[in-house]
Assembly symmetry: C2
Homo-oligomer: 376 residues x 2
Amino acid sequence: MVKDRLDPWGSDAVKDYARLQAEFGIEPVQPLLTRFKRLSPHLSRGIDFGQRDLARVLDAIDGSKPYAVMSGIKPSGDFHLGTKMTADDMIYFQSLSRNATVFYSIADVETYSDNGIPFRESAKTAVKNVADILALGLDPERAVVYFQSEEVRVLRLSSTFSKGVTNNMLKAIYGERQIGLYMAALVQAGDILMPQLPEFGGPKPVIVPVGADQDPHLRLARDLAAKHHEEFGFIPPSSIYHRLILSLNGDAKMSKRAEGSLLTLDDPPVPSSRKVLGAFTGGRDTVEEQRKLGGRPEVCPVYDLYRFHFAHDDGHVERVFTECREGTRLCGGCKQEAAGLVKRFLEDHRKKRDSLMNDAKELLAKSRNYLASAGR
Amino acid sequence: MVKDRLDPWGSDAVKDYARLQAEFGIEPVQPLLTRFKRLSPHLSRGIDFGQRDLARVLDAIDGSKPYAVMSGIKPSGDFHLGTKMTADDMIYFQSLSRNATVFYSIADVETYSDNGIPFRESAKTAVKNVADILALGLDPERAVVYFQSEEVRVLRLSSTFSKGVTNNMLKAIYGERQIGLYMAALVQAGDILMPQLPEFGGPKPVIVPVGADQDPHLRLARDLAAKHHEEFGFIPPSSIYHRLILSLNGDAKMSKRAEGSLLTLDDPPVPSSRKVLGAFTGGRDTVEEQRKLGGRPEVCPVYDLYRFHFAHDDGHVERVFTECREGTRLCGGCKQEAAGLVKRFLEDHRKKRDSLMNDAKELLAKSRNYLASAGR
């Protein structure tokens, strides 16, 4: 039987998270929850559902040992709510220990090969993206932010890896693709494994928070870590997977490619809140029916807004869920409330972000100096 | 009808140079010879036989316009006589005009992906290789020497190109290969086109001297130059092709892979001259037969030593050829003479090379500073 492939480049959703675990070997997060001193909303709300080798990172936290938090962004447009998910996880794992260092890759190489956006253009987008992450809470003191296209170690590693990898290996993981996408995949593997190079203190646990659809990149990086263990001493990178937020039009993945399906952190607050008012919901055809049967929060992008991002706390999420299921919460009022939360968040975020643009440039400059001075 | 492919990674010879022209569109050098102020031995002896767009470089020379001479070496071992061919051409084209700049790539990425030699090891080999070229006559004042693995522009260009290239394009040029070899090919295309980036003065004619078996890399680079013309203004690179020197065991290509088939510039002079004495020749089975029928210089690696590298001048080459054909020159004496020439050359070269090791390091350091300070 041919197993399904996860496709990080497509817009197809990961529909069945249980099957993900069974077929791809992603382990549940649940049994490890007691080991966290403090749960993030992603953990307490079951948004982060799967992991590989997460225990290794928890061991490092417990033992006050260094570990890296690795993630990246494609600077192909504005920071949207899907991107915020990864950023939130990254910031959370940075906050769990003073021994954590964030490596944040601005994937301009992939943005070029995937979206055709030239480097000089994505470089501008990137500054704003970095300000967004700072506004979300990244500690710049323990963060290294770099452009993929400038980081010779990443590109060199990708060439190194291209030796160990066979076309069949890549086909098995990604399917039959054009070489540009395979190359981008090898560059990403370079990103993921770079924090373990000698100039950054050598092999260490690395946690990579990603959407479940990105797991193929992790499998590739783990295969390559094993293949090149003798030369580099790589430890297989750990990963934690979050569910994908529903698109405002009800599609399974919020995507930069489908206009109107997504909210970005750069959207003007008022039109954004209007987008929420016009969103698809899990409501019934009539108010009567809804009062009788209750709504369906499990397919509702508005419920996802509360759960993934904008609820005040876990209790708030539960309240929305229960009221919806019981039929006491109707879509009109629920959307009004969500729109208000979105509007307020975007207003606050915009202010913070705008005030952090210089900090973003400084972090990029500081990182560039640091990387240039690190021995090779 | 399926056309044959040239294979730069194999050891198969290019047997029929006329077919090369007919099938691959490589033009003869001959009609352009009158345009050179001064012929190199490679040109006067018919060793450089083919070209693409060579006239464009001759125009630049005539018009005192800038052009680049681009070549590279795989630092996978010592500099052998095949490598010296390319170096000789490069040095010749540098000497034809004050407006020529040499870009010399130390292809450590390809050396890793093709031969598995780690970067730190190939870096050592490279210093000696650079000293070899200096000893052969490279002018360090107008030369930029860089490591592929350190030059972010090359690696970035290769990623850029990976977008424009399709698997079918690569298969048509190189056949079905592992991705590592495709990636190395794209990196080489980055080497070939880098001299035309804005920070090096923008689009300009570039001459790439190579063995005929390397033509696929040129075809790829020319295709990519056309595809990315709008973005970069690339002019298709020009090339000049030299015949391949026969291996000492009579095989068609002198290769680092076949022990005893090659002479390197690092070989101790005395054992080297002994290698020549033991070489395959184009002689007949008996002395009598040879006196009667004459020898076959066209299949003789010892004749190639005279013609390609060690004869005093063109007249010397012709004399050896004629005497051999007429049966007045026998293999024993001919090999003795060649062995003496080889021994003397290697002794002289070794002295020069050893005295230039510091200059090689300086050229590498100077190039590194220059490249780091060039705007990006």
